[in-house]
């Protein structure tokens, strides 16, 4: 994606600098339960900038709950969750986090084009209440760049994307190889294509952290390979990747670090050491094993 001329990029860069040194994700003794029985218990975990971390575990092991705790969507019963150095529940630089779920709930039937979906990545920059101006504020910004600030302020109030925003959207689509599908309805795409679009949405938001919750469920094998190649490329480009995944072979092949969870952390270390360890058997049960060439 090409460098852009919009102020939000500078804001993101400034925010990145402001949070320099802080881990991207920092969980400290986190415990959470929907009932009296905790789903996640005393989990401490740190993810640094640029890492490619996969969280694995059997069904019901608390992977998705852990992800929601990391993102501040739910608050821990005990312990602390921090995102880019801030309390995750109060984190307000949402554009720094790109989220890709198994599938969007309304995606199938909703008349919405690929381009409109990717456009959502720019909403934090143009939404009402997100007036530009940086530390100087709108008034201060007027002295630095009166014409540009006035234009961006108008766009923030009206919620309209600038030409620069649209260029970022188109660049994000090109990055994931979906430019030809820009005007297609999202419901007409295959599972793999749809996940590429959601990655593009995160790229359009210039996310520093990409969080994916079992993104390849229901995606055909060929598309899964291409999808993981894309994640590898994004991670190599400096984006921190946090992958919640059930496919152990993919995790071992692509992630640098594996966190094995079953209510508590059973393993946290390099992917190759995870294969050698007994964490798999302890977390998944004695019958669990890697298949030749992959699979659990």
């Amino acid at each position: 994606m090409s460098a852009n001329e919009t102020d939000p990029a500078a804001r993101a860069s400034a925010a990145s600098d402001a949070g320099a040194g802080d881990p991207v994700i920092d969980l400290s003794g986190v415990t959470f339960g929907y009932t009296a029985t905790p789903v996640v218990e005393d989990v401490s975990l740190t993810v640094d900038s640029g890492e490619y971390v996969a969280v694995v575990g059997p069904n019901g092991s608390g992977k998705s709950t852990l992800m929601r705790l990391m993102l501040g969507l739910i608050g821990p019963d005990a312990g602390a969750a921090r995102l880019f150095g801030e309390d995750a529940g109060r984190f307000d630089d949402g554009e720094r986090v790109g989220y890709v779920a198994q599938q969007a709930t309304a995606a199938e039937e909703m008349p919405i084009t690929v381009r409109e979906v990717v456009k959502m990545g720019r909403f934090p920059y143009v939404a009402v209440g997100n007036l530009p101006g940086g530390d100087a504020g709108v008034v201060g910004g007027l002295f630095d760049d009166p014409v540009g600030t006035a234009r961006r302020t108008a766009n923030a109030v009206s919620g309209r994307l600038t030409a620069g925003d649209w260029r970022i959207v188109d660049d994000a689509l090109a990055t994931v190889g979906m430019s030809a599908f820009a005007d297609r309805r999202i419901g007409q795409l295959s599972g793999g294509q749809r996940q590429r679009v959601f990655i593009a949405r995160a790229l359009a938001g210039e996310a520093d952290l990409l969080v994916l919750d079992e993104p390849t469920v229901g995606v055909d094998a060929e598309s899964v390979d291409a999808f993981y190649d894309l994640l590898d490329a994004l991670n190599a480009a400096g984006i921190t990747v946090l992958l919640i995944e059930h496919d152990l072979s993919a995790v071992v092949e692509h992630a640098d670090r594996v966190v094995c969870l079953n209510r508590e952390v059973y393993f946290d270390g390099p992917a190759d050491e995870f294969v050698e360890s007994d964490a798999l058997a302890r977390a998944f049960g004695a019958g669990a094993r890697f298949l030749a060439g992959g699979g659990e």
């Binding site: 090409s2 640029g50 949402g94 008349p111 919405i112 909403f123 939404a127 919620g159």
Partner: protein, 361 residues
């Protein structure tokens, strides 16, 4: 109030409200609304002038200056044709199509509350205003029940719907005789019930609804499409859900005048369902649903006037007819579209790297 039982109940319900307090409240409300309604009635006067010209040019009898109520009905219908599908588009794609029905029933309770208060303490407030207030409170209750009990949305809607209708019927039965006749027009709607005051209220609701959607359309779209991703991006999902249900309450009350409580939900759903069949993009679906709704409203009002039938029913029947046509067109479109599938491009990793460098990580 002639019924001693009603008098006793009113004294128990409103012990502190005496005649002078009611007059003060009435005066206060009138003072606040006077300027706004003055402007709205001015807009209405311009509309009359426009419709007079339309009658002069087209010769349409229903636009005859002698029938101001029809000219108002056309104005209200056009407003409904914009605001109902505008809100309905977000509701339908959030699978909340039936929330309009739930709120219409609570709006009925609001009408009953208004009529009851007018009868008991002579408040002189428009039943449409009490309907707006009660429907908006009910809308918040739907959200509150969903948020606090983790119940499915349709459970909270069913509870609020039943409660609203129960409250309405109870209030009517307390003051049976005077209210029952008045309530019929709200239940089934009527072109002739659109008074200048009702049209003024609708214009105010229209401005609030269109203005709010214009300002918050990005957030509403994001929450509609992917609630979790919207929350992660920093959008307060609960807050925008509340905004959406409150706007829905306003639409319901506005449309109730000519659609009636029983059929009002159709305007939120049917044009949107039709537009979904033929539209490729979200923006296009909003525009198409508004066009379909306007078509249904204008044709429906025309048929109702010349045929002497209930407007609400005809409008819905026309809308359903349009929906059936849209389904057929949509099927044809999808058959043609399947023949042209573009090739997927390769992943441009170089571009990603360039961008990461620009980010300075």
């Amino acid at each position: 109030m002639s019924d001693p039982l009603t008098a006793a109940l009113a004294a128990w319900l409103f012990p502190a409200v005496n005649q002078s307090a009611a007059l003060a409240l009435q005066g206060g409300l009138a003072g606040v609304g006077e300027t706004v309604f003055g402007a709205l009635l001015w807009v209405l006067e311009q509309w009359y002038w426009l419709m007079d010209w339309a009658h002069y040019l087209t010769g349409l009898e229903m636009l005859n200056p002698r029938y101001r109520y029809m000219q108002r009905a056309v104005l209200v219908g056009l407003c409904i044709g914009v605001m109902a599908p505008l809100i309905g588009t977000f509701l339908v794609h959030r699978q909340l199509a039936l929330i309009g029905d739930a709120l219409a029933h609570t709006a009925f309770a609001g009408v009953a509350v208004g009529l009851f208060l007018n009868a008991v303490i002579d408040l002189g407030v428009s039943p449409y205003l009490t309907a707006v207030v009660v429907a908006m409170i009910a809308a918040l209750f739907i959200e509150l029940i969903s948020e606090t009990t983790d119940a499915y949305n349709d459970v909270s809607m069913a509870i609020v719907l039943s409660t609203g209708f129960a409250l309405g019927t109870t209030l009517i039965s307390i003051n049976a005789g005077g209210l029952a006749v008045g309530v019929n027009q709200f239940l089934f709607g009527s072109l002739s019930t659109v008074s200048p005051q009702s049209a003024g209220i609708l214009l105010a609701l229209f401005a609030v609804i269109v203005g709010t959607v214009a300002l918050t359309r990005n957030q509403l779209l994001y929450v509609t499409f992917d609630e979790t991703a919207a929350a992660v991006s920093g959008i307060s999902v609960n807050w925008y859900n509340r905004v959406m249900v409150m706007l829905t309450a306003m639409v319901v009350v506005g449309a109730m005048q000519i659609m009636g409580v029983i059929l009002v939900a159709a305007m939120l759903v049917v044009p949107v369902a039709g537009a979904t069949q033929v539209s490729r993009s979200f923006t296009e679906s909003i525009v198409v649903s508004v066009v379909l709704a306007e078509l249904a409203v204008l044709l429906g009002i025309g048929v109702a006037y010349y045929g002497g039938v209930t407007a609400g029913g005809v409008i819905v029947l026309v809308a359903v007819g349009i929906y059936v046509c849209a389904v057929a067109v949509g099927k044809l479109q999808s058959v043609r579209g399947e023949a042209e599938t573009p090739e997927m491009g390769s992943i441009e990793t170089d571009g990603v790297e360039a961008d990461a460098g620009a980010r300075g990580d």
